[in-house]
Symmetry: C2
Subunit: 337 residues, 2 copies
């Protein structure tokens, strides 16, 4: 009962089960894989694997299916990521080339990844904690409304419409803009809120009320600029992959709408040796994602931002890992260029 062969059996079971969605038995295994031994031997191996908790039999006379622990062992044993097919490489290349706005690139990427893996693809947009204030613009819209625009050194733009006393003139706005610009230009986004306060306090009394309101708005924008956000695509794949278990898809869709859950999950994942994180089923404590796995990796060196896919525990891990890694590499190359 050699250990390497047992793991080979586990691999075969996982592969067949992912492919067929049905418990796989000893006989089918020796037929589909050249294992060089008979079904009886496989049965002995399976018994050991079951004792180890890597596979289970749903009922007495059915084949075995991998447990979460089994998937984990399987994933950990993946040594070299199989490269994508030329067609897939071409798809990535053609879809992502043509430098564009970051939001556009991320949007395309997430769709592409969903298509490549047939899973739900997710991208956490990078946060740039070291962003600084590059510019501020106050634009009167008439009707006592002012549009406040805050631009960071990373090219991120936040805007908000603020109601202001109608008697505020364009000159007043100009003065206010100068004051805020002087106080904030080049400062770190995290500090903006406090600095706004200070700037507003030093304004001439005539501008004080407007200044206070604007300070609050700018502060909110700065905080907003650091807000984490998630974009995704391919939720339809979830329905297709899950079969007819509507009770299992509902909580997942709910969790996906609550971006907070995913953000927490991402932040808790630990990268493995290949720089890719895989979280399987109940390994993440979020109950609504009990039967789903996540494969993710970072794509911006300095940041915690991640890109990945999410699907049923019974998913094609090698393919997902390969696609996620490839997409992340292209992505970071594009964003760096």
């Amino acid at each position: 009962m050699s250990e390497p062969r047992r793991l080979e059996v586990l691999r075969a079971i996982v592969e067949d089960y992912v492919h067929s969605r049905e418990p796989v038995g000893s006989k089918a295994l020796v037929e589909r894989h050249r294992l060089g031994v008979s079904a009886a031997t496989i049965r002995n191996d399976m018994a050991s694997l079951e004792e180890e908790g890597l596979i289970v039999a749903p009922h007495t006379s059915a084949g075995r299916i991998p447990t979460e622990k089994g998937y984990r062992r399987f994933v950990d044993r993946i040594e070299d990521v199989k490269p994508l097919s030329p067609a897939e490489r071409r798809a990535i290349q053609s879809l992502l080339e043509g430098s564009d706005d970051m939001d556009v690139v991320l949007d395309r990427t997430v769709r592409l990844l969903a298509q490549l893996t047939h899973q739900v693809a997710v991208i956490q947009v990078p946060r740039f904690s070291d962003a600084k204030v590059r510019h501020i613009e106050l634009v009167g819209l008439g009707a006592g409304q002012v549009l406040v625009v805050l631009i960071s050194t990373t090219g991120k733009v936040e805007q908000r419409v603020v109601p202001l006393a109608p008697e505020t003139t364009d000159e007043d706005l100009h003065d206010l803009k100068s004051a805020f610009l002087a106080a904030l230009s080049g400062r770190r986004m995290e500090d903006v809120r406090d600095l706004c306060q200070g700037a507003a306090d030093q304004l001439p009394p005539r501008l004080a009320p407007a200044g206070a309101q604007l300070a609050a708005a700018v502060g909110a924008l700065a905080r907003n600029s650091g807000a984490e956000r998630i974009i995704m695509a391919g939720t339809a794949n979830l329905a297709r992959a899950t079969g007819d278990f509507s009770h299992t898809i509902t909580p997942v869709l709910e969790a996906l709408e609550e971006q907070v859950v995913l953000l927490r999950l991402f932040s808790e994942m630990e990268q493995d040796a290949h720089g890719i994180s895989v979280s399987i089923g109940s390994e993440h404590a979020h109950g609504s994602l009990a039967e789903t796995s996540v494969v993710a990796t970072g794509y911006v060196p300095g940041s915690t931002a991640k890109v990945g896919v999410l699907g049923p525990t019974r998913m094609d891990y090698p393919n997902s890992i390969a696609a996620v890694r490839a997409v992340a590499r292209y992505l970071s190359r594009i964003l760096a260029g």
Copy 2:
């Protein structure tokens, strides 16, 4: 066999079926509704309704379920929209008050509507075809990159990062900004593209290459500013409502990801007497939405922008109509204020 009673029977069938999801028979009908006649009479009425094509029996000895035509007749007969419950009114009021950025308001609204109706809620963000250029800003980001910001009179901000020859100085940028601003300020968004071309042509030769690039970018932004967009929430409700028909939920989710389908659908809907559009099942030709209905209405007087819900044909139309109408009213009030 009075016509009014027959329609009353149809109403009862629709209501019961929506509630129970099971074919409803004559006996159950007289028990649950005070129709004042016996089951036998109801049976005669049902036979007529079936002949009219308003209801069908899935098989010989089952109750009847409404056809699309039946739902249509039912919806057309809704005279006065039942008002929302006080609790629901309060929910709307408390969630939507506190004036904020439009995107934030729309985001909250779509979630609220999904919660109120237990359906998928959809909002088409308004396009403002009469928007004019309010401001342009060029912000150097270093590394030969420039952030182009285009602000419309409606407070909409579009931005894009453009690569530019690194030797372009801040002064050059200032000149370019002045040139574009002079050419575009106050002009209609639709004309921006052509005007950009003209402005770029008149630049001094030194700035011509940069100007051409920027002109292209600004033109793209202007067109982008008019792009239609859709936000939605409550996809999990779809899974819950659909039961275990995974084959019916998949194409719907796919259609929802393809915003184009929804935009087309919205544009093709015709408002009924109450200003609310209801499209039932195959009334809209989009195959993937064969068994789904849409209830929608406009919420910005001048625009085609719509807010609505989407769900299975077997949905609670009165409630959906009431919620959509109420939310649309609050929304337009907020956006107008």
